[in-house]
Structure formats: C-alpha cells, structure tokens
Symmetry: C2
DNA sequence: GCGGTGTATGCAAACGTTTGCATATATTGC
DNA sequence: GCAATATATGCAAACGTTTGCATACACCGC
C-alpha cells in the first residue's frame, strides 16, 4: 500500500520550508531564519544568498509555526454585532486596511447581537491565538467575565463604538454627546424652538449620550426639558413613523423639528410627514444620526451626523498597536474620542438655504 | 536577574495546556487529546473526567498548534475588492455565518481593486496556512499565476461573483443573463417597446451577461437590436444622468423604458428625469440591478434585480466544504449558479399596478 | 597577551498539538 | 483454548519556526 502522505494526485506539492533552504545552501536553519528576519549578526553576503534562493524557490513562511513558537500571532480578532450595514462594514474596512499596513491579518466574528455568541467568539479568538481583540458589544451584553479572561491572558483588548460602562478599558468612541449637541444647536439656529427627539434604548451609552447632547443644547437656549417631546423606541422605520405621529398629536401644537438618534427612524418620520402633506423642512425640520447612504437620496435630503466609521477602525488598530508595543499593556487604559461631523442637508434648512455649502455636501453619496 | 519569562505584571497567567490536564489526572497527553476530540478508543469514564477537568480549569485549545501538526487550519481566507458597500458586506456576512457554523474562522483581505494587492493577499493567506480561499476578483485582474500557486498546494479555491473566464475553476455566480432577461421581459410585459439599456464595462462577465439577457428578451418579442439605445459607461450616478439625457435625445423620439445594469446609474437617470419633469413610470419606466437599499426609498421606488448576496456567501462556503471533504479536490470543478430575483416596484409599473404584490415587496428595506 | 567588542554561524530545545505504532486487558466466536 | 476483535491507554516523533547559549575568528586598546 502506498504511504498515506503520498497523495494520488500529485498536484499538491508540499511547500518548501526553511529546512529545505538550509540544506540547499549548506548552512543551518538558524542562519536562514536570521537572514530572513534581517538579524544583525548575519553577513550581507549570506543574507543575499538566502534571500535570493528563497525568492527562487518561492519560499512561503509558515506563520502558524512562527506564531506557535513566539506565542504571538499576526492575527487581530474583530467582533461586531453584524457586518452588513454601512457602519460596521466601513469600520471593518478601516480596521482591515490599517491592520494590513501593520502586517496583521483580521479575523472577523459576528455576535449577531447575542451575548452567548459573543462569549463564544471570544473563546474562538483566544483559541486562534490572536494578538489582540477589537470588539463592539452586542446590544444586550451585561456580563463581562469573558473579557476578563482576555485581560488575564495579557492580550490587548480594544472596544469601539459600543463600549463597557467603565473607564478601565481601552476604547475608541464617537463623541455622541457632541453629535447630539451640534445637530440640536443647528436646528435651534434655524429658528426651531419646539424640537422633538427620537431616543434609542437608554442602556446603550451611545443613545444616552445623544439624548444628553440634545438636552444640553436646548438648555443653552434656555428651553426647558419637555419629556413629552422625547419618544423612546428601538429606532426602526416603523418606530420613526409612529413616533412622528405621536409628536404631531401633542396638545401644544406638535413640534417644529425632530432630531432622531438614528437615520432609519428619521426616514420613517419623513415618510409619515409626506403622507400627511406636512412640508419638510418648512413645517417640520428633520435631522438624523449616522449619515447613512440614503440620507443623500431622499427628497428632501436628510441632515445627519457622520460617525467617522473608517477613522474609528483606524483608531482602534492604532490603539491596539500601542498596546502591543508597551510591555505593561495591562495598565494602559486609553480612550480615544472621535469628533462627529454634521452633514447639513435640505431637511433641516429653514429659510433661504446657502446653496453653495449645501450642494457640496449633498451630492456625495456616502456609499 | 529575574528570568525573562516571568513578567513583572503577574496578571498574564499563561493559559493551561493539555500537558497540564494530563499531569493533573495522571494520564498521558494522548488520552487527553483523544478524550477532547471524542476518539472512539477512550472509555466513557475517562472521557468524562477529562472533559470535566477541562471545563473546570477553563482549558482553551491552541488551534495554532493543532493546525501546525495537522497541516490544516480552521481558517478560511476571503479576498474581496472592498468590504464596505452592501453587496460584498452581505456576501461576507453570509460567508462568516456559514463558516462559523462549520467551525471555521474567516480572515478577510481587501484587494482594493488592485491586482498587485490581490497577489499579496494570496501570499499572506497561504502563509497563514488557511484551509481554503474564497475570492472575488479585483476589477482588472488578468494574470492568474497567483491562483495557480494555490491549486499547486492543494488548497480549495472558490471564486464568487467576479470569476475567471474559464470553466476549470470552482465558482459561485449569479445568473446575470437571466436577471437581464427577466427584467427586460417585465418591461416588455408592461407594454414598453422602446427599451434602452445602460451597459457596464464589457470586459466584465457580469455586465456582458446582463446585456445579453436584455438583447435576448427583446428578440423574444421580435424587436430588433438597436445599438443606439445602449449606452456604455462605468455606471456611476453621473453616467446614469448623462445616459438618460442621451437616450431622451434620440432621433426616433427617445425611449419608453430603461434597464440599467446597475442601481446607481438608474438613480442618476431617475434624478435627471425628475429634473426634466418626465413622469416615471408613465413616460419612462426604469429598472436597475443589485437591489440596493435605496431602491426602496426613492420616489418612485425602483424596480431592481436582487443578487442574493447572502446566499452567494453561503454557497461559496458550502462549495469549499465539499472540496475539503473530497480528497481529489484538484479535479472537482463545480459551478454554482444562483437565480436572481426580480423586485418589482413603482418605477416600472405601467397602467394599474397590482397593489397587493407591490406593497409586500416594496416596504422591506433590504438593509 | 588579555579582556572587550563586533561579526558570523550552529546546536538543539522549545511552542502545544496530533497520531502511528506499540502495549495490555477483556470479550467473543468457534 | 486460541485467534480475532474491541476497548483503553501510552510513547515519542512529528509539524516549521525562533532563540538562548554556545563557538569561532578578527580586531582594538592597553
């Protein structure tokens, strides 16, 4: 019987290893290894010889073996609630690009907004011996032991966007508060005074902060808090439509603007208003959050806060790299806060819009 | 001097290995390994003991070591031109979900539509010892040697969406021809007879096939080919707008419908028509390709062909798994062809639309 | 002529698994 | 009672790197 290792199909030639190079050149594997990793103690002549042969034989290093020996792989684990959808896809794009530049590969996992799955993801990534983990929490994560394990192992852990309620972690977040503040100020400057708000689940930091920005902006104009004007929901299209209905039906004559903590909900509101022949922005101005692609397509186009998705991904990787460098990463706890950017479009421009600034921002579909 | 292995910060306790378990239970590592992998020759009592201890000590297997020994990792490499954007993000979602179910992790790489980068991605993935590679070609890949290398190594290779012009590969593709045919037939059934077409770059199989479907549908109605009604472009928003201008200006009175091989271009056309007060669909019906999220948001909503992104990802993984199973994968060359699905919306419904079927498909935002 | 330093190379032991080839006992069939 | 089979376990060699600790030679300064 033929030995098992000899395949019937001979197309699968085994890749060549450092041992092969060493044998060919009559030197030790040490020399090969050092030549390839540009060690100082290898003579230029030897180094050249090795590199040339490696290229000629098309040598491919086995990262696995190296990682095993060094206890340090070139893999970064990323956990997101889901990958489809503009925000996370773009963050992941930023992560992959930055990681690749630093010589790291990216493993993605999806928690599907499920804590149990998230826990499993963490275990998987640890088993894969990743050099670090970047994670955006699932919607209802409230048990953090699985992350303790990561820290115990001394593996850099960076949160982004959806973070732990604690300042003892490394995190990259958007200044959601400022986003809420900016957009509300903008609505106020347009002359709106009865501004409603679609608020998301308040156990999530992002929605809480957006709401607080809204409130503080109102206060800066000496407008009192009116809880009636705040609608809490899961921010779906239907929630937006229904929320708009509620706000219009308020006893004091409704609202003249709405700041929604999400774009999908504000789209629902827009559709509702159009179906009721309410003019946007003349009768009710609208503004959302996330700068989804469709905000530049609706009629009128929707004002929204951009979340700097790509920058967030890059920043997360940068932070990870810093942690890898510093030997006492267990102590380093850094927070990176990104400034959001307001995209002003038709839906919030009362009076005569400055068409110059408008068109520039509006025509670019953020896809 | 303290030994190097002993860290100053003791927080980083080294993870426990099979050797630890073996010592603790007084058995050999073989037994541990076999118990954990459910080998038949391990007694149920021993198996239980091992599993219990493993759970108690929170043992995490080192995939790297296993992969090194077995020469087979649990990693799938995925190369896409870019990850942001609905199509690829959703495909990757499908891939990750299916791969995860089968116990595989996914490494993503972006070629950024650049052949050189794509080549690099392949090398990287081979170095990472992936069990297989799934790839959607960069826009201008025309040199295939880097893929030959993959096959030489006996590593399963599956193309999806953008594939090689050859039937000696494993591939998952959409039936673009049928998509073009379906949508054109639909326009014909609506009574349109002067149907224009926005065609993409003809060196890409997908655009060529969509165009052919369009032509054959016309022929099925005994309508002659009129090259004047076909506008070739890169399918951007501006291309769509400009293309629409051209088609309206045709000597024979313009067109009464346009099938665009991409949604972005059809959006441009819609914007142009609205600016010229041309009624859609009454005067000109529109239909696109890709079923982008915004097609359900525009007014009127846009008819489009759905590409089954998620199914494509799943199918690619299924195909990969089949290749892994079959030992002579080098010979197996399978093509999976997915059927596109036409989403009929307002932009193409002449006369009295059947509101029942319409609303069901239209309200769901494919996000 | 000796310690110091810089250059150039090799030996062999790790890293944590998996697995072919033993070994040992118990059970079964004839 | 003996071969065949099933059950249960262990030894030790792989897998392809990296690296601490040698070894060896050359040159320099004193």
């Amino acid at each position: 019987m033929a030995p098992r290792s000899k395949k019937i199909v001979d197309a699968t030639s085994s890749p060549i290893s450092m041992a092969d190079l060493a044998r060919e050149l009559g030197v030790s594997m040490t020399t090969i290894s050092r030549a390839l990793s540009d060690h100082h103690s290898i003579g230029p002549a030897t180094k050249q010889k090795v590199l040339k042969l490696a290229k000629k034989l098309n040598y491919q290093p086995n990262h696995l073996a190296a990682a095993l020996r060094k206890g340090q792989s070139k893999l970064i684990g990323v956990i997101v609630p889901y990958i489809e959808g503009r925000f996370f896809a773009t963050v992941v794009h930023g992560i992959e690009t930055a990681a690749s530049k630093a010589g790291f590969n990216v493993i993605i996992c999806q928690s599907s907004e499920d804590v149990a799955q998230e826990r499993k993801n963490v275990e998987t990534l640890l088993s894969a011996q990743v050099a670090g983990i970047l994670v955006s929490l699932s919607r209802d994560t409230n048990d953090f032991r699985h992350f303790e394990k990561v820290r115990k192992r001394g593996i850099p852990l960076v949160f982004f966007d959806r973070v732990l309620e604690s300042d003892t972690v490394n995190a990259v977040v958007l200044n959601d508060y400022d986003g809420g503040y900016q957009v509300t100020r903008h609505l106020l400057e347009q002359g709106c005074r009865r501004i409603g708000h679609f608020a998301g689940p308040q156990h999530l930091n992002i929605y809480r902060n957006r709401r607080q920005g809204y409130l503080d902006a109102l206060e800066s104009y000496n407008l009192p808090l009116d809880e009636q004007r705040i609608v809490y929901s899961d921010m779906t299209l239907e929630d937006g439509s229904e929320g708009m209905r509620q706000l219009l039906a308020l006893p004091d004559g409704g609202v003249d603007a709405v700041f929604s903590a999400g774009d999908t909900a504000v789209l629902g509101a827009l559709q509702f208003l159009k179906s009721k022949q309410v003019a946007v922005p003349q009768q009710v101005a609208l503004a959302g959050f996330s700068n989804e692609a469709f905000t530049a397509i609706t009629e009128p186009m929707l004002t929204s806060v951009d979340q700097r998705c790509e920058e967030m991904g890059q920043a997360a990787v940068r932070l990870f790299l810093e942690l890898v460098e510093s030997q006492d990463s267990a102590f380093l706890q850094r927070q990176v806060i990104l400034q959001p950017r307001l995209f002003i479009r038709e839906s919030s421009l009362q009076g005569t819009p400055s068409l110059d600034t408008l068109s520039k921002q509006a025509t670019k579909i953020p896809c």
